[in-house]
């Protein structure tokens, strides 16, 4: 089970990123647990400057803009 965190203050791009991660996980049959991190000090704690950011099992893998689908597929 992968622990995935979506960092972002709740803008449309963050919601789109979360949906895409969930879709890709469902289509690949990967079990994930998604959590949204909206609190600014914790977002800053990951060293992210542009949201949305994606953290998988504690490692920042992406920041700034909705990731490409192919990129999401490579993470899972």
């Amino acid at each position: 089970m992968k622990q995935i965190k979506i960092l972002g203050t709740g803008c449309a791009n963050c919601i789109n990123t979360m949906k895409m991660v969930q879709e890709v996980a469902a289509s690949k049959g990967v079990e994930i647990q998604v959590e949204k991190v909206e609190d600014l000090p914790s977002i800053m704690g990951y060293g992210v400057m542009s949201t949305p950011g994606v953290v998988i099992d504690g490692v920042l893998v992406h920041s700034g803009g909705v990731p490409l689908r192919s990129k999401v597929e490579s993470w899972l």
Partner: protein, 346 residues
């Protein structure tokens, strides 16, 4: 084989781009004729009110959308050479006017979404970018954007687009210098002040090939044009209505150049509104056709984009009210100067 493939697809991309550019210019040159032809199908001519309104719609919609696609694609490719992290490294520790100028210029080309304004703001400060320089970037990035420039170019020509670019940068530089001079660092929220310098990790960017850059240009077009086209259509629709039905010089009485209070009122009216350049510029063009002064409507437009109430609510998480008030006051002053200068020049 695997070494050859990337090169081959660069060639395909370049050929595709070249063909698209040629086709683009061929269609772009024929737009007036196409619009005339469409309204003639309905049995209308430009003499009638409905005909004039429909002509405006069928000429401006394809023109604006084509310009948008072109400019946004180019910008999407340019932006792959920049990132917030690189911009931050370039600006770190730069004091004085040169830092503000560089920050405002980088604001045009650095990929930026207004929803990340606060993380970016803090990321810059914690890496030693001075407060005033950070503000120059934050003001320039949303205001001087490719969508606004493409639309201004399409509807008013390159002179107005260039003036908007120059004066928009001017406002960002001026406001950043003033805020820097005022030494307002203590008006940041306490949790922001506590974030230590060097806490942010440098991001490793993967090497991009030209194919990646072209692809991200296309991605940028899908994202931006996909988002703004309804605004453009509604804006042009409203503009078409104004164009065909509002009497000539109707706007001159309260939005003309000789109405001195027009500019400040336009700035104040812009604050509670939140839309993007795409929706507002077609309306602006139609208003100007009816006698509104360009400076007044541009001040309104800048105010809507740069001084929106929702953005201030986001910034409030990191800034104390005094700093927000100074930010709004300084930017509003800058925009008013722009409005008066435009009215005086044109």
């Amino acid at each position: 084989m695997s070494e050859l493939r990337p090169q081959k697809s660069v060639v395909i991309w370049l050929a595709g781009v070249a063909v698209t550019v040629v086709v683009w210019f061929l269609i772009y040159g024929q737009l007036v004729g196409i619009a005339n032809w469409i309204i003639s199908i309905f049995g209308l001519s430009r003499e009638s009110q409905l005909g004039e309104a429909l002509h405006f719609f069928f000429y401006d919609t394809p023109k604006v959308l084509m310009l948008l696609v072109g400019v946004v694609f180019i910008m999407g490719v340019i932006q792959t050479f920049f990132s917030p992290e690189k911009t931050r490294a370039l600006l770190s520790g730069r004091n004085g006017g040169a830092g503000n100028i560089l920050a405002a210029l980088l604001g045009i080309v650095t990929p930026f979404c207004s929803c990340s304004a606060v993380p970016l703001f803090i990321g810059f400060l914690s890496a030693g970018v001075p407060l005033g320089v950070t503000f120059s970037f934050l003001i320039s990035a949303p205001m001087v954007n490719e969508v606004a420039l493409a639309l201004l170019f399409g509807m008013f020509g390159w002179k107005v687009a260039a003036l908007y670019l120059g004066l928009g940068l001017g406002v960002a530089i001026f406001a950043g210098i003033v805020i820097g001079r005022l030494k307002m660092e203590r008006y940041l929220e306490d949790w922001v002040q506590k974030i230590q310098a060097g806490h942010l990790r440098p991001e490793q960017r993967e090497q991009l090939s030209w194919v990646d850059r072209f692809e991200s240009g296309v991605h940028h077009v899908k994202e931006i044009v996909g988002k703004v086209w309804p605004y453009v259509m509604v804006g042009i629709g409203l503009g078409a209505g104004i164009h065909g039905y509002v009497p000539q010089d109707f706007m001159a009485s309260f939005m003309g150049a000789d109405v001195w209070w027009g500019v400040p009122v336009a700035v104040v009216l812009g604050v509670p509104m939140y839309t993007n350049a795409a929706g507002i510029i077609p309306i602006v063009e139609a208003l100007i056709g009816k006698g509104a002064a360009l400076g007044t409507v541009l001040a309104f437009m800048m105010s809507v984009i740069a001084l929106s109430a929702p953005e201030m609510i986001i910034l409030r998480k990191a800034l104390k009210p005094q700093l927000i008030a100074v930010f709004a006051g300084v930017v509003a002053t800058g925009i008013m100067i722009v409005g008066f200068v435009f009215n005086w020049l044109l």
